[in-house]
C-alpha cells in the first residue's frame, strides 16, 4: 500500500486569509452602525455600491488575467474589505458615481494592475479616496451635518434619490441638505476648525459651533457624532488586536505619535491648537489607525518597522491637519507611509539567530515556569 506523500509540516492552524478579512469586516460593523445612526443611510448605500462595483471589477480582471480558482479569490474578502473601507470614507450624499469610480479605481488600477492581492504597493481604499478627493473636490466634501442637526430630514429613499439624482423627492438640492439648523453650510469639524482658525478665531470660539455640541461634555470640544464613530472604530480595532488579527504596534505607535504632536502644540498654544482628544476622535483617525495602517500588504512587516511607520503616520496626520491644504490627512499620510514601508522594512530586518552579537545579555528576559520562584525574585 502506497501512502499519500506530502511535504512537512503536515499540520496547520487552519487560519485562512479569507477568515482574517471577514473578521476585519465584522470589526468594522459597529463603526458603520454608528455612522448610520449619526449620518443616516448615505454611507450604507455607498458601501453597497462600492462592494458591488469592486466585486464586478475583481471578477472581470481575474477573468482577463485567466486566473484559476476565480471564485475563491473573488470571495477571499480582500476586495470587499477595500470597498467597505472606501464606502465608509465617502461623504453620505456624494453622487453614486463617486463610489463606483472609486471602487473601480481601487480594484482595477491600485490592486490588480500591480498583481492582485499581496502585490499592491498602496492601500486600494486610500489611493482611491485620494484620487476622488483630488479629482472631485466638491462632491467629496459634501458632508452632511449629523441627522440631529439637519434642517431637512432624510429617510432611506430620499438618501437614495439624492445619491442617484442629486435631489430629494421634495426637490431639495445637496447644497440645501447640507445647511444645518443654524443656517450654516456644514463641513466636517476638522474643516470648520481649520477655516475658523484661518479666520483668526480661537479654538474655543470655534467649538461654540453647533457641530461641536457634545452629548456629554461640552468642554471637551469634541465633534458631535464623530467622537462616537471614532470610538466604535476604536472598539472594533481593539477587538482585532485581541483576536490577533492585526498587530498592535502600528495603531498604538500612530495614536501615540499623534497624541504627542497635538499635546506639544496644545501646551504651547491652546488657543490655536485643537486638543489631543479632538485629534484622536475626529476625522478618520481611528479608522486609519486600526483598519488602514494595519493593512499588512502595504505596511511594514517587522515590529520595529511597524512602530516607525505608525509614528511617521501620526506625525504626518498632525502636520497635514494643521498646516496642509486638506482638513484631514489620514489618507495622505497612509499613502506616504505605504511608499516608505519597503524602505523601512529594508532597514529594520531582525538579527537572525547566530548572526552578529551572539553573546547573552547579562539579565535574561525571565520566562518563569514556576510562579513562586518569580515572586521570590
Amino acid at each position: 500500500m502506497a501512502f499519500w506523500i506530502a511535504s512537512s509540516p503536515h499540520n496547520h492552524n487552519q487560519a485562512e486569509t479569507s477568515a482574517l478579512m471577514r473578521l476585519v469586516i465584522y470589526a468594522l460593523l459597529p463603526g458603520i452602525l454608528a455612522q448610520w445612526y449619526f449620518f443616516g443611510w448615505g454611507n450604507i448605500i455607498h458601501i453597497t455600491l462600492a462592494v458591488a462595483t469592486a466585486m464586478a471589477c475583481e471578477f472581470i480582471v481575474l477573468s482577463l488575467r485567466s486566473k484559476k480558482q476565480i471564485r475563491k479569490q473573488l470571495f477571499d474578502g480582500s476586495a470587499i474589505l477595500s470597498a467597505v473601507l472606501l464606502g465608509i470614507c465617502i461623504p453620505a450624499i456624494a453622487p453614486w458615481w463617486i463610489s463606483v469610480i472609486g471602487a473601480a479605481f481601487a480594484i482595477v488600477i491600485v490592486k490588480q494592475l500591480y498583481g492582485g492581492l499581496g502585490h499592491n504597493p498602496f492601500n486600494p481604499a486610500m489611493a482611491a479616496y485620494v484620487m476622488l478627493l483630488i479629482s472631485f473636490p466638491i462632491q467629496m466634501t459634501s458632508w452632511l451635518p449629523p441627522t440631529a442637526l439637519m434642517n431637512i430630514g432624510l429617510d432611506f429613499s430620499n438618501t437614495l434619490m439624492t445619491i442617484f439624482t442629486g435631489f430629494t423627492a421634495e426637490g431639495y438640492s445637496v447644497e440645501q441638505l447640507r445647511t444645518s439648523i443654524d443656517g450654516f453650510t456644514m463641513a466636517t469639524p476638522l474643516d470648520t476648525l481649520k477655516t475658523d482658525l484661518g479666520l483668526g478665531h480661537t479654538v474655543y470660539e470655534t467649538t461654540q459651533n453647533s457641530i461641536f455640541t457634545n452629548s456629554y461634555d461640552f468642554s471637551l470640544g469634541l465633534a458631535y457624532g464623530w467622537e462616537w464613530i471614532n470610538l466604535t472604530f476604536l472598539a472594533g480595532g481593539l477587538l482585532l488586536i485581541a483576536k490577533r488579527a492585526i498587530a498592535w504596534h502600528t495603531p498604538i505607535s500612530f495614536l501615540l505619535s499623534l497624541f504627542v504632536c497635538s499635546f506639544i502644540a496644545y501646551s504651547v498654544s491652546p488657543d490655536s491648537s485643537a486638543s489631543t482628544m479632538f485629534h484622536w476622535l475626529t476625522g478618520g483617525c481611528m479608522l486609519g489607525a486600526f483598519f488602514i495602517l494595519t493593512d499588512p500588504v502595504t505596511g511594514a512587516t517587522s515590529i520595529k518597522g511597524r512602530l516607525i511607520i505608525g509614528a511617521i503616520a501620526g506625525l504626518l496626520v498632525y502636520l497635514i491637519r494643521t498646516f496642509g491644504g486638506y482638513p484631514d490627512g489620514v489618507a495622505f499620510a497612509v499613502l506616504l507611509c505605504n511608499m516608505a514601508a519597503p524602505l523601512v522594512d529594508q532597514y529594520t530586518r531582525p538579527r537572525t539567530y547566530g548572526h552578529g552579537n551572539t553573546v547573552a545579555k547579562p539579565a535574561p528576559s525571565s520566562e518563569s515556569v514556576n510562579k513562586q520562584t518569580e515572586t521570590k525574585q
Binding site: 499519500w4 492552524n13 537572525t352 547579562p362 525571565s366 515556569v369
Partner: protein
C-alpha cells in the same frame, strides 16, 4: 557561567524568538506504558540510517545472523555499524524504500526472523568506571549509536572531541506534538538514562549537565528529578512548552542564553547536546553490551485505534507496527475523486518536521521516533497537498513565529524568484525547517517546501560552481604548461641551431666539404630508409639508389667551386630523376606528385643567385621538413617550397636529395607501411651520422663510407623496427616544428 547556573537554579530561562503552540495531542499515548511487540516476520535494515556513510557489508545472502551481530563495519569515523536486531537469516540484500522524505530506495538487508531471538555472546560490564575513555568511545562506536533525536549524527564523534566543555545538555524537550517516546522512556528507564548521562559525564567532563525538558511531562520530570537528586552537577531544567524548544540551537539559547554562531557547531561554544534516548542507548551499549537494535517509537494519530508507544526493533517495517495498533483506513469513498482518500498519509516523525513515507515497507531506523497516522478530520492539511495556497499578504505572522528570526515571507518571494543572492543575504541556511512559519501562514503557503527546493538548488549550484572552478584551474594549468613547453621547445631548437652553427663555423674554412658532408649524411639517411623499406630488395638496387646521392655530392662540390655550372647540374639532376621515374613506372601517383612538387622548386632555385653564407642549417631544416612529406607529399608541397627558397646555396644538393628522397619515400610507403614508420626514426638519426661524417670527411672515402653507412642504417632500421613506435609519435609531433620556426 555562574550567572547562567544561578538563573537556571532560579528557574529563569532565556527565550528564543517566535515559536508556536500547536495542539499537543500527547495524551493519545502518554498514559500508556511502552509495549513490547511480537517479532515481525521480516526485518529490513537500511545500511545507512543516519548522517555520514554506510559501512561495508560483513554478511552475505543466506548467512545466519544472531541478535546483536554486527552486519556492517567501517573504518570511516562518520560511519557506524548496523546490527542484527534479532536472530535470523539474511534473505536478500537489495534496494528498498527507506525512511527518507523523497522516498528514496537504498541498499537494505532483509532478515528472515527465526523467532528464536538468540543473542550473540555479550560481555556485561560490571563497572564502566574501570574502562578507559577510549574503551567507552569504542564501545559506543561499535554499538552503532547515532543521535536518536533527528539528524542521527554519529554519537562517538560527538563524545570523543573534547575541548573544554562547559555544558552537556540533555535534550528531553520532545517539543513536537504527538510524540511521547522520550517522555515514556524517561518515566520507565530513568535510571538507565542517568547511567548514560554519567558515562557522558566521564567522557566529556562538562562543568554542568543540564537536562532540558518541557513542562508538559510532569511524570518524566519527577522521575528525572528523583534520579538526579544525588548528583550536584545535573540540573533538570523545566522549560515552558513551546515548539521548537527541542531544536538544538533553541534549547541552547533557552538554557544558556548563548547562540550558536551561524555555520558553527555547538561544540565550538563548549556545548554538547545529546538526546535523552541516545543516553539510554549509550548506557545499554556500555553496560549491557547491547548495540543499538531497538528504540521506542510512538505510534499515534486518530487513524490508529490503539495508539501506543512500542519498543520497535530497528528494521521493523511500518505495516507491522500499524497492524498492531489498529490502523483504520478511512472508508474508501469511490465517488470521491480525491486520491488522498485511498492513500492516507503516514508520517514518520512528528506533524511538523516528520515526512510522509512512501509505503508500508519502509522500516524503522535509528532516528524514527514516531509513526503518525492522522485522520482527515484531525489534520486536513496533511491531505490537501497544498491546494489551498493563496497569495502572501505579508501579514508577518511567519516572521513572528520564526525561531531563527528570519523573514519567511521575504525568503518565500526570493525563493520563488530563484534569487539566490538575496536568499543568502536573508540567511536561508539558518532555517532549521521547523515548519512554524508554514503552520501559522494564513495563506497556507508551503513555505518550508519552497525553502527546501531553494536550498537544494543553491547546493546544486554550488557544486556546479566548484566543478567549474576546478575545470578552470585545470584549463589554465594546461595552458601554462603548453606555453612552457612551447618556450622550452623553442629554446631547445635555438640551442640545437646554435650548436649546428658552431659546428659549421668551425668548418667554415672548408664550406664545400661541409655541405658535401651534409649531402652525404642525407644520402646515408635515405639509404637507410630505402633499406628499411625494402630490406628484401637486391643489393644492386640499393647500390643504385646510393649512387645518385654520390653524384649529387660531386655536383655540390662542383657548384661550390663553380657557380656557373648550376644549371647544367640541375638539369642533370632532373634527368636522373626522370630516369629513375622511368625505372619505377610501377610507382603510384603520389610519387609523381612528390616529384612534381620538387620540379618547380628546382627551377626557382636554379634561377636564384647563390649566397654562400648559411650553408648548413637550412639544409638540415629541409631535411627535417621532409618528415611531413613522408606523410603527405602533395599537401606539403607548399611548405617545402619556401624552405628550399631559403637555402639557395644548397639548392642542388637539396633538390637532388629531395627528389631522390621523395621517390624513395613514396616507394617505401607503397611497399610497407610499418617499415615507413620505422624509417622516420631512422631519419631522426641522420644529424648525428652527418656530423660524424663531416669530421672525418675526405672526398675520396665517399664510397667506402657510404657503403658502411648503408650497412649501418640497415642494421639500425631493423633493430628499431620493433621498438620505435614511441619515437615515431615523438617525431610526428616534432615534424611541424621547423615550419613553425620559419
Amino acid at each position: 557561567m555562574e550567572s547562567i547556573i544561578e538563573c537556571i537554579t532560579q528557574n529563569k530561562f532565556w527565550q528564543f524568538h517566535g515559536g508556536i503552540h500547536p495542539p499537543e495531542q500527547k495524551a493519545l499515548t502518554s498514559g500508556k506504558p511502552i509495549k513490547l511487540l511480537p517479532l515481525p516476520k521480516q526485518l529490513i535494515l537500511p545500511l545507512q540510517q543516519h548522517i555520514g556513510r554506510q559501512g561495508d557489508l560483513l554478511v552475505k545472502v543466506g548467512d545466519k545472523v544472531l541478535k546483536g551481530q554486527a552486519l556492517t563495519q567501517s573504518f570511516n569515523p562518520m560511519a557506524v555499524p548496523v546490527h542484527a536486531p534479532t536472530s535470523g537469516t539474511i534473505s536478500a540484500i537489495k534496494k528498498s524504500p527507506i525512511a527518507h522524505p523523497s522516498g528514496l530506495s537504498e541498499l537494505c538487508l532483509f532478515i528472515e526472523v527465526d523467532f528464536e531471538d538468540t543473542w550473540i555472546k555479550r560481555e556485561i560490564c560490571q563497572d564502566y568506571r574501570q574502562l578507559s575513555n577510549q574503551e567507552i568511545i569504542n564501545k559506543i562506536a561499535d554499538a552503532g549509536i547515532a543521535g536518536m533525536g533527528g539528524a542521527g549524527f554519529p554519537t562517538h564523534i560527538k563524545v570523543s572531541t573534547t575541548p573544554d566543555i562547559n555544558f552537556l545538555i540533555i535534550n528531553a524537550a520532545e517539543c513536537e506534538p504527538y510524540i511521547t517516546a522520550d517522555d515514556l522512556l524517561m518515566c520507565e528507564q530513568s535510571e538507565a538514562i542517568i547511567d548514560g548521562i554519567k558515562i557522558l559525564d566521564k567522557l566529556l567532563k562538562p562543568a554542568f549537565i543540564l537536562i532540558g525538558i518541557e513542562n508538559n511531562k510532569p511524570q518524566a520530570i519527577k522521575a528525572l528529578q528523583q534520579a538526579t537528586s544525588a548528583i550536584e552537577k545535573v540540573k533538570v531544567c523545566v522549560l515552558p512548552t513551546k515548539y521548537p524548544t527541542g531544536g538544538e540551537k533553541q534549547l541552547i539559547k533557552m538554557l544558556t542564553g548563548k547562540e550558536v554562531k551561524s555555520g558553527s557547531l555547538p561544540i565550538h561554544s563548549g556545548i554538547v547536546v545529546q538526546n535523552v534516548a541516545t543516553c539510554f542507548a549509550i548506557s545499554d551499549a556500555v553496560i549491557n553490551d547491547i548495540p543499538l537494535i531497538k528504540r521506542v517509537v510512538t505510534l499515534t494519530g486518530q487513524a490508529l485505534s490503539k495508539p501506543q508507544n512500542v519498543w520497535a526493533l530497528l528494521g521493523t517495517p511500518v505495516h507491522h507496527l500499524l497492524e498492531h495498533t489498529g490502523f483504520i483506513r478511512e472508508n474508501e469513498d469511490v465517488t470521491q475523486a480525491n486520491a488522498s482518500v485511498t492513500n492516507p498519509p503516514v508520517i514518520m516523525g512528528g506533524p511538523l518536521m516528520g515526512f510522509s513515507i512512501l509505503n508500508e515497507l519502509v522500516p524503522v531506523v535509528k532516528t524514527s521516533n514516531c509513526i503518525l497516522a492522522p485522520s482527515k478530520a484531525e489534520m486536513p492539511s496533511a491531505f490537501d497537498n497544498n491546494a489551498n495556497e493563496v497569495e502572501c499578504i505579508r501579514c508577518g505572522q511567519c516572521s513572528d513565529v520564526c525561531p531563527s528570526q528570519l523573514l519567511p515571507q521575504e525568503l518565500q518571494w526570493s525563493a520563488k524568484a530563484k534569487d539566490h543572492q538575496q536568499l543568502a543575504k536573508l540567511n536561508l541556511f539558518d532555517c532549521i525547517d521547523c515548519g512554524a512559519c508554514a503552520y501559522v501562514c494564513p495563506s497556507q503557503i508551503p513555505l518550508v517546501q519552497y525553502y527546501r527546493i531553494a536550498k537544494a538548488e543553491i547546493r546544486q549550484q554550488q557544486q556546479l560552481d566548484v566543478k567549474a572552478e576546478k575545470a578552470k584551474i585545470r584549463f589554465e594549468a594546461r595552458k601554462l604548461r603548453l606555453e612552457k613547453e612551447k618556450i622550452a621547445r623553442e629554446e631547445k631548437h635555438k640551442k640545437a641551431a646554435a650548436a649546428r652553427k658552431a659546428v659549421m663555423n668551425k668548418k667554415s674554412a672548408d664550406g664545400s666539404s661541409a655541405s658535401s658532408a651534409v649531402a652525404a649524411a642525407l644520402a646515408r639517411v635515405k639509404a637507410k630508409k630505402a633499406a628499411n623499406a625494402k630490406p628484401e630488395q637486391t643489393n644492386e638496387n640499393q647500390q643504385k639508389t646510393q649512387a645518385k646521392p654520390l653524384e649529387n655530392n660531386d655536383n655540390v662540390q662542383e657548384t661550390a667551386s663553380d657557380v656557373q655550372d648550376e644549371k647544367s647540374q640541375v638539369k642533370a639532376a632532373i634527368a636522373r630523376a626522370k630516369a629513375k621515374r622511368l625505372a619505377k613506372k610501377t610507382q603510384s601517383e603520389t610519387n609523381k606528385a612528390a616529384e612534381e612538387s620538387s620540379a618547380p622548386v628546382k627551377t626557382e632555385g636554379s634561377t636564384l643567385d647563390t649566397e654562400k653564407v648559411p650553408t648548413e642549417e637550412p639544409a638540415i631544416e629541409t631535411d627535417e621538413k621532409t618528415a611531413p612529406a613522408i606523410e603527405k607529399p602533395i599537401t606539403n608541397k607548399l611548405e617545402k617550397e619556401p624552405a628550399l627558397v631559403q637555402s639557395p646555396d644548397d639548392k642542388k644538393a637539396k633538390i637532388a636529395a629531395a627528389v631522390a628522397k621523395a621517390k624513395e619515400k613514396a616507394k617505401a610507403r607503397k611497399s610497407k607501411s610499418l617499415a615507413e614508420e620505422n624509417s622516420s626514426p631512422a631519419d631522426n638519426e641522420k644529424i648525428k651520422p652527418a656530423v660524424d661524417s663531416e669530421d672525418s670527411k675526405k672526398q675520396d672515402d665517399k664510397k667506402a663510407k657510404i657503403a658502411a653507412a648503408v650497412a649501418k642504417a640497415k642494421a639500425k632500421a631493423k633493430a628499431k623496427a620493433q621498438q620505435n613506435l614511441a619515437k615515431k609519435k615523438e617525431q610526428q609531433q616534432d615534424s611541424p616544428k621547423p615550419s613553425n620556426e620559419e
